[in-house]
Structure formats: structure tokens, C-alpha cells
């Protein structure tokens, strides 16, 4: 039991550090990737940096991090260098500038690219396994582990055989004397052999 708890704690600690690392990386990367300088003309395939409006850029970062680049699929629009991601960043910047909310921007993209474009798909019947599957598997796994350990503990307690009581010893002795069904059978066997 104790071992299981230690195991669980170690697992949780590892997961925590991995997640922490990923977050740290995610926040570091864009800052390094966005150079300061004059804005190149549109349609050169380069994202237009907009140092003039840091609030807008922050909102842009937040939204584009939520959206999948459909070309590379495992990168967000914020991180991807694919031309489509650049186009989408520019489009989203224009949309935010024109007063659209973050939710409206995400809805705009979902309308065109489907829920796959979201890294956090909405909870519905098609995504319920996605949301709760891992937790369910974990619970099942721990359940199996616990029942295994309980069985083993039962086995080990069974090995430590308690002292026989007086009554049990007497019953055993009477069996050994040849009163029981076992001695009957041996007699039958003997007669059968002859």
C-alpha cells in the first residue's frame, strides 16, 4: 500500500516537471522569434511584427497558441513558420484590431477548419473519450494495481499459519487414527488389489 502511494507521488512529480518545462519553453520561444524592426510589406510571407501595440500582440499570442497549424498539425499557429500559419496570424491580428473578441476569432477559425483547429476541443459526445479517457485509464490501472497488491497481502498472511487450537488438534488426531473416510479408502484399495 505504502509502495503504491510512493509510486503515485513520484509519477505525479515527474508529470508536473514535464508540464512545467513545456510551459517555460512555450513562453520563451515567441519572445525570441519576434524580431523588433520595421514592418515588411504585406504578402511577403513574413509575419508583420507590431511593436506599436504590445497589448494587441499579447492577445494575438494568446489566441494563436490555442489554434493548431493545419499544415504541421502538431504546432500552434503562434509557433509555426508555415506560410498558412503566417497568413492566419496576420488575419487574426486584423480581426482583433477590428474589435473581434478572442472567442469570435476562434469561432471564425472553427467555422472554416473544424474543431480540429482547436488544441482544446469543446466537450461533447465525440470528444468525451479524449477528455476523460486518460483519467479513466489511470483509475483502472490503479484499481488493478491495488487489487493485485491486496491479493498478495492475503497470500502472505495465509502463509503465517496460526497455532492449532486443542479442538483442531484432537480432530486431526482422530483423522490420523484411521476413523476418517481416508482410511476407509485405503482399506478398499487393499481389498481391490487382491
Amino acid at each position: 500500500m505504502l509502495r503504491a502511494l510512493v509510486l503515485a507521488a513520484a509519477l505525479a512529480a515527474t508529470l508536473g516537471t514535464i508540464e512545467g518545462d513545456a510551459r517555460a519553453q512555450a513562453t520563451d520561444a515567441p519572445a525570441a522569434a519576434a524580431p523588433a524592426g520595421t514592418a515588411p510589406p504585406a504578402s511577403t510571407g513574413v509575419a508583420r511584427p507590431n511593436a506599436a501595440d504590445p497589448v494587441l500582440e499579447k492577445r494575438l499570442q494568446a489566441v494563436t497558441k490555442e489554434l493548431r497549424c493545419m499544415v504541421c498539425q502538431n504546432e500552434s499557429i503562434a509557433d509555426s513558420h508555415a506560410p498558412l500559419a503566417v497568413d492566419m496570424r496576420n488575419e487574426i491580428r486584423d480581426q482583433l484590431k477590428s474589435g473581434m473578441s478572442e472567442q469570435q476569432v476562434i469561432a471564425f477559425m472553427v467555422e472554416r477548419y473544424g474543431n480540429f483547429v482547436r488544441f482544446r476541443p469543446p466537450l461533447d459526445w465525440t470528444t468525451i473519450g479524449l477528455w476523460f479517457g486518460p483519467a479513466l485509464l489511470m483509475i483502472l490501472g490503479f484499481g488493478a494495481l491495488l487489487s493485485q497488491m491486496r491479493q498478495r497481502r492475503n497470500l502472505s498472511t495465509m502463509r503465517a499459519v496460526p497455532e492449532l487450537s486443542a479442538a483442531e488438534r484432537a480432530a486431526l488426531a482422530s483423522l490420523a487414527d484411521g476413523d476418517g473416510p481416508r482410511s476407509d479408502r485405503t482399506q478398499n484399495d487393499k481389498t481391490g488389489n487382491r
Binding site: R112, N115, F116
Partner: protein
């Protein structure tokens, strides 16, 4: 005894699911635009930039919208199939996606022009409206202007024979 089969059973279930997963193409994402009206656009045509074409102009017929570009190698791969479809009398309109006019015109001259006309989308903004993420893409649009089918990537004979042609025939009959 029955417990001994449990690992095997789990393995078989996993193997089945993973096996199915292997046969799927992760790049084929179902489009939310199926069954919805084709997003409107009015764009200049490639051949005559002063002339414009809009989705409305194609209403009343079953047509294909093919997203292509001169820089797109798979577009060349599907080009013979597009030409064959065009020869069958299926109206195909091109959406020249993020391309340069001169390069696009030269490409058509070199490889043949199967399109009724091509409209130009140099910035890719209309592409975003159509959920384009991998050229070439082909859309089947019905008489009412509703998108009925979308194929991402180069067309292949199987898709044309098994899906595209039967669907077009059905939509034409209705």
C-alpha cells in the same frame, strides 16, 4: 485460466485500434463546410484581371472548385485527372492560390488549361474562408451553391471513379 487470456485480449483490442489508425490519413480532416453554402467571393480572373467571377455566377450547375498553384508539385500530379474530368464536360473552376500571375499563366500554358476560368487569390484570404490547408484541394459544389464534398491533396483515380463521378451524377439528377 480465463485470467491468462486477459493480456492477449487487451493486446488484440489495442492492435485492432492501432491497426485501423495506421490506415487513416491524419491529413484528412473532415471539413465543417460540407453541407454549407460555398463561401462567397468575387475575384479577378487570371486570364483577364479586369473581369471578375463570383460563386453566384456558377449557380444552377454542379461544378468543381480546384485550388491550385504553379509552385504546388502535387497539383501537377493530379493535372491529367483534372483535364480528363474537364473533357467529360464537368465545369471546373480554378482558384489560383498564393501564386504570381506570370508563373500561373506560364504553368497553364505549359501543362494545359482544363479550367473554365481561374480566379486569383494572391494573399490566400479566400483560401482561409474555404479552410484550405493543403493544395491541391477540390470542392464539389451543387446547383444551389452548397459544398457537397471536399478532397484534400491530389485527386486519384479511385476518388474520381468511386466518389466524385457518382456524386456529380447524383447531384446533376436532383
Amino acid at each position: 485460466m480465463s485470467r491468462a487470456w486477459l493480456p492477449l485480449a487487451i493486446f488484440l483490442v489495442l492492435a485492432t485500434f492501432l491497426g485501423i489508425g495506421l490506415t487513416l490519413n491524419p491529413r484528412e480532416v473532415p471539413s465543417p463546410l460540407i453541407g454549407k453554402p460555398a463561401p462567397a467571393f468575387t475575384l479577378p480572373t487570371l486570364a483577364e484581371p479586369q473581369k471578375q467571377f463570383s460563386v453566384e455566377d456558377a449557380k444552377g450547375k454542379v461544378w468543381l472548385l480546384n485550388v491550385w498553384a504553379s509552385w504546388c508539385t502535387p497539383c501537377l500530379e493530379e493535372h491529367p485527372l483534372i483535364e480528363a474530368l474537364s473533357k467529360k464536360g464537368i465545369p471546373i473552376y480554378g482558384l489560383n492560390y498564393k501564386d504570381k500571375e506570370a508563373a500561373a499563366t506560364a504553368w497553364l500554358k505549359r501543362h494545359g488549361d482544363p479550367y473554365r476560368l481561374s480566379v486569383v487569390d494572391p494573399t490566400g484570404r479566400i483560401g482561409i474562408d474555404y479552410g484550405v490547408y493543403g493544395t491541391p484541394e477540390t470542392y464539389v459544389i451543387d446547383k444551389q451553391g452548397v459544398i457537397r464534398f471536399k478532397h484534400v491533396g491530389p485527386l486519384n483515380p479511385q476518388v474520381v471513379e468511386r466518389t466524385l463521378l457518382p456524386l456529380i451524377a447524383k447531384l446533376r439528377a436532383s
